[in-house]
Amino acid sequence: MADTTPIRAGLRLPTGKLAGAGFGLAPIIAAVVLLLIVLAAIFAPQITPHDPIAQNPVLRLKPPSADFPLGTDAYGRDLLSRVIYGARISLIIGLGVTVLAVVLGLAIGLVSGFFRVADAIVMRIMDGLMAMPSVLLAIAIVSLFGASIWTVMAAITIPEIPRVVRLVRSIVLSAREEPYVEAALSLGTSMPRILWRHLMPNTFAPLTVQATYVCASAILTEAILSFLGAGVSTETPTWGNIMAEARIYFQLKPSLILWPGLALSLCILSINLLGDAARDVLDPRMGKRKD
């Protein structure tokens, strides 16, 4: 074997992996924060000092104290307990929407990317869905079909699907031009098998990155829906609901909005940071370089 691997001096070293070097610590902190939020949500009944729902008018709008670390809300409920319970809905919605949007988007995108006939129709529908402002659409769906966690999930998923579809489709469209796909064709490999074996794996890395953004966006939209009063029942403590109830007291007691706001922001921030870290590692453009 004389043709040993040539030294690839790499006149263009990928910039991706090092790009986040300055943020080296950020993904780790983000992961820890997210893990804490998840644990808090799971063990909410064990760790919360008070019932998040039972009202106690005597204790309304109390300042922080040893018993109520963040104070109480207008119905005398412990803010800390409510914020901890609030993580539950956010995470469930975030996870549920991500799974739904990625699975449906992947399926539609694969078909659309590989079958030209389906493509024209599917993409027009996706363009139409993209044109409708997602929050408007979601509020409309929720208010029409009734507010439950399922309708909220569906309402948030529908506007997310087109983004996943477009991503998957564009990857499939470029991957199907790869000679190894043509090689598979000339080896007599069937279309479904080419899709499954040669095309779909190309989408995994970018989809992982996209999934984190879908998750962050879903949690955000859920909070907006709750905040506008179009989310899950106002009796359920969600970050958006807590803030919505606190709106009229904002000048009196801003912390009622700022604490759940902080929790929400931290949650979305850590997911986004993890997504950025994943992209730096997995970015398809970086991975495509020959070596």
Partner: protein, 313 residues
Amino acid sequence: MPVYFVRRVLAAIPVMLVVAVFVFLLLRLTPGDPAAIIAGDMATPAQLERIRDTLGLNDPLHVQFLSWMGRILQGDFGTSLISNKPVIELVEDRMWPTIWIALITITLSVIIAVPMGVLAAWRHRTWVDHIVMTFSVLGFSIPVFVIGYLLIKLFAIDLRWVPVQGYKAPSGDFGGFAIRAVLPALTLASIYIALIARMTRASLLDVLNEDYVRTARAKGLAERRVLFRHALRNAAVPVMTVIGTGFALLISGVVVTESVFNIPGLGRLTVDSIFARDYPVIQALILLTSGIYVAVNLLIDLSYTLLDPRIRY
């Protein structure tokens, strides 16, 4: 150019048709009698019948759709079920605050975000880059209404520089308008700035790796000229694209921001109509915002021909 123009305009038609079908079906697919949903629990049979009649619910579905579309194409978006005013009038009453805030937001965003992105790419992997990227990821992650309340807390409650809420028309009292518009615009701009700055940086970094940038350097041009003359224009198309697609975020943001700042614009009208189940208004508003989104993106598509001579059809 004319061919490209015609093609793009024609391509927008099916998109709007899909929106129309979706909006139309949204009401018709609702479980139960749409008329009953709209009228609420206390409605009398006579009221229900009146609503059905107004909405044409007694006709077959496709007839309903066609007549509805026909009316819309003639500019008739129906009548509000609550105020009994034509929807067009309601929209006309409420659109100016929204338009003003949106215009300020877009201008502000582009003016702030593009230089931020350029700076970050130019000083890639330095502290400047890191600060810009940190701002950008924060802008993405902190929800609009949280930013809104933070700004209110800081500038209206603590510092008392601006009023907490409210809106004044610019024609009457421009100072009053400006002082009330600044916080909503900043709030709305946060995510837009994050988006545009990030895309400017990414696109410019890509372009800075291109061969022709190396050629420009090999010609002995000053770095600044390489950046502004060669790299920036080539990086512009993805940035324009994201300004267009980001418009959807802006529309969603408007709904929230107008609630936070109590601005009587289209966003508030939307939320109010949805809670009042004022169907003709909701339909019109979704159609309208989608139409604006499509139009904005069409304009941006067409602007590519000015930026890149290779795009001709």
